[in-house]
Symmetry: C2
Subunit: 112 residues, 2 copies
DNA sequence: TAAATGTTTCAATTATTATTGAAAAATGGA
DNA sequence: TCCATTTTTCAATAATAATTGAAACATTTA
């Protein structure tokens, strides 16, 4: 993961509304949530929500898919794991300072 | 760790200069670096560096201590671990989705 | 105390980001 | 096709953050 992408990902999460959005998506798991449902759960106005979802999407933190009239958003767990990996790697100048374990969450919904 | 503190910590890291500063401090390990040395390593002008160090310090990501004429800055590994823990916890609605391992780095320099 | 070194503060400018409401697309059903 | 629903776009405003250079402050050595 490149530094630029990391800054983008961190900036995407470093905002009240977007952190709230991301958390409800993380809690929702691989099933995801429709945009309107996110608006209900977080109290963020639709236009503002759309703006923030675009930011999160652009940062690779969430993905979306059309489902009928609804647009379903899901947290992008693989990007989250890459982000955590970046922050933990290079730690203490290469001298391993403790057992580092990277993945903290499932990556994707498994195909049936 | 509270949401507000998490946003502050993420915002502190979500910026080119500050991420660079934090990384050199992480790589330097518990010994830390003097402000001027950080300026040399990152190419950030002193006044700008001071501004960013204050941001990082306020977010709890770095600590400082006077040492003669120098001010030594060190990465705050415990806050970093708390941050990682926050992002990994609450994942997938409480259903444990994979083994979660929190600490990725030593917390502090051990007392002699 | 005076001079040199290292760091921080201040004020001004520039740039970026968040929010709101209204209008416009896109989709599905009658 | 027409209507209702869901989401996104747009433009305007308000708020926040980054950078610069000069000056001020703090610490050590002569």
């Amino acid at each position: 993961m490149e530094t630029k992408a990391v800054v983008t990902a961190l900036a995407a999460l470093a905002q009240d509304s977007r952190l709230a959005i991301f958390r409800v998506l993380v809690q929702a798991g691989p099933t995801g949530l429709a945009a309107g449902r996110i608006s209900e759960l977080t109290g963020i106005a639709p236009s503002s929500l759309s703006f923030h979802l675009k930011e999160l999407s652009h940062a690779g933190m969430v993905s979306s898919q059309q489902a009928g009239r609804f647009v379903i958003y899901t947290a992008n767990f693989s990007t989250m794991n890459a982000l955590l990996g970046f922050l933990t790697e290079n730690c203490c100048g290469g001298n391993p300072c403790s057992p580092v374990c990277s993945p903290a969450c499932v990556t994707e919904k498994e195909p049936t």
